[in-house]
């Protein structure tokens, strides 16, 4: 029964199959000729440059992906050094392919978060229960007392394609092992807490606060905020204190002994190291080690 119907099917199907195969082979031949006659020779440099790029299509260079950046950089070598995840290694590789004297592309950029206040360090007026997301949380003035610090709603985490950001204890923390420096997270923070910093060293000293309130007010809502006392800028030229907030000059970053002293003397322990395997910051509330008198 089944065999008979299968045989019948085969008997009826073979002319169609022959036609399909015949037509397909004729077309294949036509296409083969067309592909040879109409072949477009792609500049082999474009492929080489594409291969040298990290191929993560993060968009940090301002192009749609690594492919379009490769095309653009071959056409216009001025664009060299736009690849943030690749940093100087990639720029060097591209410069070699294009036979250029190396130019552009400094140290790789990495994000630092200007806040270190965990859940228990900051003061909340009420519990936020609105739409999940930092932008909407930022629009609610009466939830978190600090109008400058991390909201912990994970706007940056959702932007990160590389699983390099996590909200740990109400605070966004960068995983520098996974971070590629594409800068997507910096665009996702409504409070502009995330700064892309050229990491000239593996571990960078940063000021982990963004509060421009005066010291008294900052103390009133945060255990670990920068009070703008100016201790660091008195000790080291690396630091400047403006608007009740200390900042590091990353352009001329150098880890001097004075900077280390400033870090040790900071009354709130707000100067911390960020980067791969960075030492843990001083816990909140702990007094600075008594500075030895020189």
């Amino acid at each position: 029964m089944i065999l008979a119907s299968v045989m019948e099917l085969l008997n009826n199907a073979w002319p169609a199959a022959v036609l399909a195969l015949g037509l397909a082979s004729v077309f294949a031949l036509i296409l083969l000729i067309a592909s040879i006659k109409l072949k477009v020779i792609v500049d082999p440099k474009i492929e080489d440059v594409h291969a040298a790029l990290p191929n993560i299509d993060c968009g940090a260079c301002g192009f749609a992906g690594c492919g379009s950046y490769a095309k653009a950089v071959v056409a216009d070598p001025e664009l060299l050094g736009k690849c943030a995840p690749g940093g100087s290694d990639t720029s060097n590789a591209i410069a070699e392919i294009l036979n250029l004297q190396m130019s552009g592309g400094g140290a790789p950029l990495r994000p630092i978060i200007h806040c270190r206040a965990c859940q228990q360090d900051k003061k909340y007026f009420s519990e936020y229960s609105g739409i999940i997301g930092c932008t909407s949380a930022d629009a609610q003035p009466n939830v978190q007392a600090c109008a400058f610090g991390c909201l912990g709603n994970g706007g940056c985490v959702r932007r990160c394609k590389f699983d390099a950001l996590h909200i740990i204890d109400g605070l966004a923390v960068v995983d520098y092992e996974k971070c590629t420096g594409c800068g997507a997270c910096a665009k996702g923070c409504p409070r502009e807490l995330i700064e892309m910093v050229p990491f000239t060293q593996d571990i960078m000293m940063t000021v982990a606060c963004n509060s421009k309130e005066n010291g008294k007010n900052t103390r009133s809502f945060c255990e670990v905020g920068c009070i703008g006392c100016g201790m660091c800028s008195r000790n080291s030229d690396l630091f400047t204190t403006e608007n009740n907030l200390a900042r590091i000059d990353f352009e001329n970053y150098e880890l001097t002994e004075e900077a280390q002293t400033a870090m040790d003397k900071c009354p709130t322990g707000n100067i911390v190291f960020r980067g791969k395997n960075a030492p843990a910051p001083r816990p909140a509330g702990q007094k600075p080690a008594v500075a030895k008198k020189a």
Partner: protein, 203 residues
């Protein structure tokens, strides 16, 4: 269609009575997408004429061998081959145009006009009729696209074929919306309305 079909009538049917865009409303995707300027519209139209001609010729010459239940497969195979050739040609000789048309040339594969003509005309008629039908339909499609594109390009930029119209340059304020998808919908809607009005009067 009857056995005795006049070639002239077949050709003019594509231009007006069965105009693919204005009467059958087929192939709306390229109609709306590539008509911001006349040049891409013309390129698209010519590519469609080529594909239509190729597929109609092939389908018409194998129509006696076609099995009804696998015919769509054969049509699509034919159309895909023609579109690939057109795409390769554009990439080789008009790289800028190919880049600006983007995916719309490969999308001719799923353009309803072509498979529609293969089904409605080429699989039932002889070679000459099929060729005439392909040319009529293709030219009708191209002309409609060009008219639509010309209206939009003039209104959006005050230029035609990317050249400024002398009389327009002094006072004309470009109407940017016409260059955007909105303009395509508005212009197409008005054109359809006008065509409906004309055909109502004549019948």
């Amino acid at each position: 269609m009857s056995k005795e079909v006049s070639l002239g009538k077949t050709f003019t049917a594509g231009l007006w009575d069965n105009n693919p865009v204005l009467r059958l409303l087929l192939g709306m995707c390229p109609t709306l997408a590539v008509t911001a300027a006349v040049k891409p519209a013309l390129t698209m139209g010519i590519s469609v004429i080529f594909v239509l001609l190729f597929s109609n010729i092939v389908v018409s010459s194998i129509r006696h061998l076609l099995k009804p239940h696998v015919r769509i497969l054969m049509f699509t195979l034919t159309i895909a081959t023609a579109v690939t050739i057109a795409d390769l040609y554009l990439k080789a000789f008009m790289p800028e145009m190919s880049a600006s048309l983007g995916p719309f040339i490969p999308l001719i594969i799923v353009n309803c006009i072509i498979i529609g003509r293969a089904e409605a005309c080429a699989s039932k008629n002889g070679l000459m009729v099929s060729i005439t039908d392909a040319l009529g339909m293709g030219v009708g499609f191209t002309l409609t696209l060009c008219v639509l594109a010309a209206i939009r390009e003039v209104l959006a930029t005050g230029m035609i074929f990317e050249k400024a119209i002398p009389a327009f340059t002094d006072f004309y304020v470009p109407w940017a919306a016409m260059g955007m998808p909105v303009g395509a919908f508005i212009t197409l809607g008005l054109m359809l309305g006008a065509v409906n009005m004309i055909s109502k009067k004549t019948t």
